[in-house]
């Protein structure tokens, strides 16, 4: 019989055992009777010889090797019975665990995505993302892509360089290219909509090892000469949104930036492209479609050696070391640069670098890694807090179960058995809490991703709830079970057999019995202190940011973006289009004032240009760059920015009149100290521009940075094309009421132009503080939870302490103690616990706040106000929670207390 059969054949084996021993017994009796002993005497003698028949049976059972398992099953049953007996305790325990574990599960789903998930392709660990580093004197490279300021590294290459690099096949199985285009306009059945696109090389799908679920993937033949194949592969999301997953989608025509394109395939649901593991671009186009998806005027980006914009990945061959591949590619890159670009004598050529490509370009991982770590830490503290709270509850319960344990010890239970019994009970709680937490995490899985997307964007983020999350939750559930169960179990294990039996319900002196309970409460308070300080710091950061003077009037402004498709509006027709829209909107009902700008304010975008004022001493360190913005005529009036000197733009400034600019006060301070700048000129972009006025300072890209020196030029006087601009509309009526008017007005100019990213200026501003708001609300939520748990903890421990000391208090009162004295005694005790906890919390917080210092604004990490407020709050809560036990102690009737059993 194998171990498993033995486990399940328990009943039959019991019967057999009984029969076997019975046979032995009867045979022995029969032998005795045969030798002349009367039967009753024979039976008595045999019973004596046999000894304890149950003991023999138990010894036989032990040889089966299944007993330990069966006894665990018994422990679990017993534990369940215990928990059912005290439903209040069980509910509180499971609920607090569910909150702690649920918070961790939710945060972990983000962690998993931001830090752990790999691209859904064949062997993503073999993918390498190509990059380069360069010093100050590099060849003139224009970068469209991510430039890492800290490491001077960049992942963008020019298309001609990519074409040379991909000839390398010694170290790489294949080398492919891709580029995410953040916004293109796609019309399905005449409904224009902004979508995200990825341009991919012809070998992209084969090199990634990805395939389509429907139709075919993009192939090398699609990526020949520019414009050779007007084909598109769509994402699962796009397929579901626009075609309801209909299989007839293959062969249908959609319009990308007004150009007709044929759908040839649909990607699997898990496929997210090569640049990110979080979300998939909506459509995938071959690089031959570059002029449609990423129009750049007359010149094609594919042939421009100075424009570096393409991301390149290679699949490294098995067994090839990264270093040897890098060294070889460095040489290739150098050759490719020299053969495509003019390299002057004193210019340096970029050096090849290689990055892990298993998570794609992974900009999110870089950007959110720190916040996610902080979130994990916060959630961890909450879980610790829940553990401490539960350990405390269990300890108090262990006190009332002392008698039961003593009886078990007296009946021969081994210490190990008791330890196991107690741990099984706490694990039952933690598993139940874990299950509830998983459910909670599942329900709130979409609550946090707003950290990563703006409120006006459709949430395309799909949080994956996979085995990784499940495993994590299971692991932390078991861990917490052991953590909070261990101390009570340890204490129970050392229950002496006689103590609980001898001891009456009271003891005259306090004893050290609940010292560990008090320690736990102090730990709870210390942890709460951490969370409260965190909440305080983030809330103050948020209020500091919101208090900031913007320099403009954000109320009643509606923003939207217009993209002029290059196919229909080649320069300078795009500027004429914007002019037309501006004019029509000005006369639309419900519109007070209209302007447009290249960059909306507080949106994370800036542009800058060189700025060389005429007749001023040149700046010492090279050409000066200042921020600038291209705006409409009524920009200052619409945005509520004051003109402090000279004049703003007017109708006299036309496309043909002399170039004019308005500068802000900050620029005047930096470049024209104590000089009236109005009427002076400066050179920018090789053009001479006249300063006609000075405006007030406004914050530009973000709330955190001070208003930068800025000059504004008029879009009508631009010579370059602007592929997209943002319109700012001042309106006295509601946004929802005015948007239909805006849509119909734009449609009256061109029905194929969608209004992109419609939002109010205030929504735009609060979007820039998204992370701060998520942190402020999460830490406040966690902090509140911590306060409640600390309250329960202090109340519980003091109520328990008072009930244990009823007798002692009675004696004190009988000996003349005043009620106030008794009350002070109880309050003093809890005050001590609170003070020690707060002190420990302050020390811990001082050590930890350094880590979040860079996320704060307008205050020091060890902000005394926050620390003092948190400490005071906790002390007050501590006193308030012990108020009721203290009152109860003080109102004891000494006679009753003395008799209290």
């Amino acid at each position: 019989m194998s171990w498993f059969t033995r486990l399940f054949a328990r009943k039959r084996m019991e019967i057999d055992l009984e029969r076997e021993l019975r046979f032995h017994f009867e045979a022995q009796v029969a032998d005795k009777v045969r030798s002349g002993i009367p039967e009753s005497e024979a039976r008595r003698l045999t019973r004596l010889e046999f000894g304890g028949i149950e003991q023999i049976k138990e010894d036989c059972r032990e040889t089966r090797g299944t007993l330990w398992f069966e006894s665990i099953v018994r422990d679990v049953r017993y534990g369940l019975r215990q928990l059912r007996k005290s439903p209040g305790f069980t509910i509180i325990a499971i609920a607090s665990l569910a909150l702690g574990i649920g918070a961790n599960t939710t945060i972990f789903t983000i962690t998993s995505e931001v830090l752990l998930d790999k691209l859904a392709t064949y062997k993503p660990e073999n993918l390498r993302l190509f990059a380069w580093t360069a010093d100050q004197n590099r060849v003139p490279i224009r970068i469209w892509g991510h430039w890492d300021e800290a490491t001077h590294a960049c992942t963008s290459f020019s298309y001609p360089v990519y074409q040379q690099l991909r000839r390398q096949t010694t170290f790489f199985e294949d080398i492919f290219a891709f580029k995410d285009i953040p916004q293109v306009t796609v019309s399905v059945a005449d409904n224009p909509e902004p979508v995200t696109a990825e341009l991919v090389s012809g070998n992209y799908y084969s090199a990634l090892g990805a395939n389509t679920v429907l139709g075919r993937a993009i192939q090398n033949s699609d990526d020949g000469t520019p414009g050779s194949a007007a084909v598109v592969v769509i994402s699962d999301g796009f397929w579901a949104r626009h075609f309801g997953r209909s299989p007839d989608v293959i062969g249908k025509t959609i319009h990308v930036n007004l150009a007709p394109v044929t759908i040839i395939g649909v990607n699997p649901r898990a496929f997210t492209g090569a640049s990110s593991v979080e979300r998939s671009p909506d459509i995938f186009l071959p690089f031959s479609m570059e002029s449609v998806a990423a129009p750049n005027g007359a010149e094609s980006l594919l042939t421009d050696p100075n424009q570096w914009w393409v991301l390149v990945m290679g699949r490294i061959k098995p067994g090839v070391s990264d270093e040897s591949a890098r060294a070889a590619m460095d040489l290739n890159l150098s050759n490719a640069v020299r053969s495509t670009m003019m390299v002057e004598k004193d210019q340096s050529v970029p050096h090849f670098a290689m990055q892990d490509g298993s998570r794609g370009e992974d900009l999110d991982g870089e950007q959110y890694s720190k916040p996610v770590h902080v979130l994990m830490a916060l959630a961890g503290v909450v879980l610790l807090l829940a553990c401490a709270n539960l350990a405390n509850l269990l300890l108090a319960r262990a006190g009332s179960r002392k008698r039961e344990l003593s009886v078990r010890v007296a009946l021969g239970a081994k210490q190990g058995r008791i330890l196991r019994q107690m741990l099984v009970e706490s694990l039952l709680l933690s598993v139940a809490g874990g299950a509830a937490g998983l459910l909670l995490g599942y329900c709130s899985r979409n609550a946090i991703p707003h950290l990563m997307s703006s409120s006006w964007q459709t949430a395309v983020n799909h949080v994956r709830f996979d085995w990784k999350v499940f495993g994590f939750t299971a692991a932390i559930s078991l861990f917490t079970g052991l953590l909070f169960g261990f101390m009570p179990a340890w204490q129970a294990m050392h229950t002496p057999a006689n103590s609980g039996l001898k001891e009456n319900a009271h003891s005259a002196t306090q004893g050290g019995g609940n010292l560990s309970g008090k320690t736990l409460v102090a730990v709870q308070i210390a942890l709460s202190m951490l969370l409260l300080v965190g909440a305080g710091l983030f809330i103050r950061t948020l209020t500091n940011l919101n208090k900031n003077r913007l320099g403009f009037q954000p109320d009643n402004l509606v923003l939207f973006e217009i993209q002029a498709p290059g196919a229909r509006y080649p320069a300078p027709k795009d500027l004429a289009l914007y002019r037309e829209i501006e004019d029509r909107l000005t006369s639309a009902p419900g519109v007070r004032s209209v302007t447009l700008s290249k960059n909306p304010l507080i949106a994370g975008n800036v542009s800058n240009d060189d700025f060389v004022p005429d007749g001023m001493p040149p700046k010492l360190n090279g050409p000066a760059f200042v921020d600038d913005n291209v705006v409409g005529e009524k920009f200052f009036a619409t945005m509520g920015i004051p003109i402090v000197a000279g004049r703003g733009f007017g109708s006299i400034d036309t496309a043909t009149s002399s170039l004019v600019a308005v500068v802000n006060q900050r620029l005047v301070k930096e470049y024209f100290p104590n000089i009236n700048p109005v009427g002076r000129t400066f050179i920018s972009n090789k053009k001479r521009i006249v300063i006609i006025g000075v405006s007030g300072d406004t914050r530009y890209a973000s709330l955190r940075d001070d208003p930068p020196a800025t000059f504004y030029t008029l879009y009508r006087q631009q010579s370059k094309s602007e592929p997209s601009v943002t319109f700012e509309v001042a309106t006295p009526i509601e946004q929802s009421a005015v948007v239909p008017t805006l849509r119909s007005t734009v449609a009256s100019v061109d029905k194929d132009l969608p209004l992109l990213d419609i939002r109010s200026q205030n929504a735009q501003i609060s979007d820039r503080t998204r992370q701060e708001r998520v942190f402020a609300s999460l830490t406040s939520g966690f902090g509140l939870l911590a306060l409640i748990l600390a309250c329960i903890g202090i109340y519980g421990i003091m109520a328990y302490s008072v009930s244990r000391r009823t007798n002692e208090i009675g004696i004190r009162m009988a000996l003349g103690a005043e009620r106030e004295q008794v009350q002070r005694m109880v309050l003093g005790e809890s005050a001590w616990i609170a003070v020690i906890g707060v002190a420990a919390g302050i020390i811990g917080a001082l050590a930890l706040v350094r880590l979040i210092a860079s996320m704060l604004y307008g205050l020091k990490a060890y902000d005394p106000l926050t620390f003092a407020a948190s400490a005071t709050l906790l002390l007050l809560v501590g006193l308030a929670a012990s108020w009721i036990p203290a009152r109860r102690a003080a109102s004891l009737d000494p006679m009753r207390a003395l008799r209290h059993e």
């Binding site: 046979f23 045979a27 000894g51 036989c60």
Partner: protein
């Protein structure tokens, strides 16, 4: 059944060996095993039920013995034990071990108890 004066404790593991030796003679139930050991040791060894049955069960789970229910000499059903092939090999090896061990121990303990009397 009188208890003999010369009863002594069996060294660890010896009981298993004795049981297997008895079972090797043919299918036999627990009571008969105890009887047989007692007889063969000329009443010197008396196997207690409390040791016999756990040992039998342990040997059964180790697949050294196999058991089946058969009618006994009195007509009642009893659990009869038999050696398995594995048990037979085991018994042979263990018996050899035992003989070697007793020879060696005997060599050392031979002679009069000089020096300790």
């Amino acid at each position: 059944m009188k208890k003999t004066e010369s009863r002594f404790d069996l060294p660890q593991g010896t009981l298993d060996l004795l049981i297997m030796r008895v079972v090797a003679l043919g299918p036999i139930h627990g009571y008969a095993i105890a009887q047989r050991i007692q007889q063969m040791s000329r009443e010197a060894l008396q196997v207690q039920q409390g040791s016999l049955y756990p040992a039998l069960h342990r040997l059964e789970y180790k697949k050294l013995l196999t058991a089946s229910w058969q009618a006994s000499e009195t007509g009642r059903e009893a659990k009869f034990y038999e050696l398995t092939a594995k048990g037979r090999t085991h018994l042979r090896a263990e018996t050899e071990n035992w003989n070697r061990l007793t020879d060696v121990v005997g060599l050392i303990l031979k002679g009069t108890l000089e020096g300790i009397s």
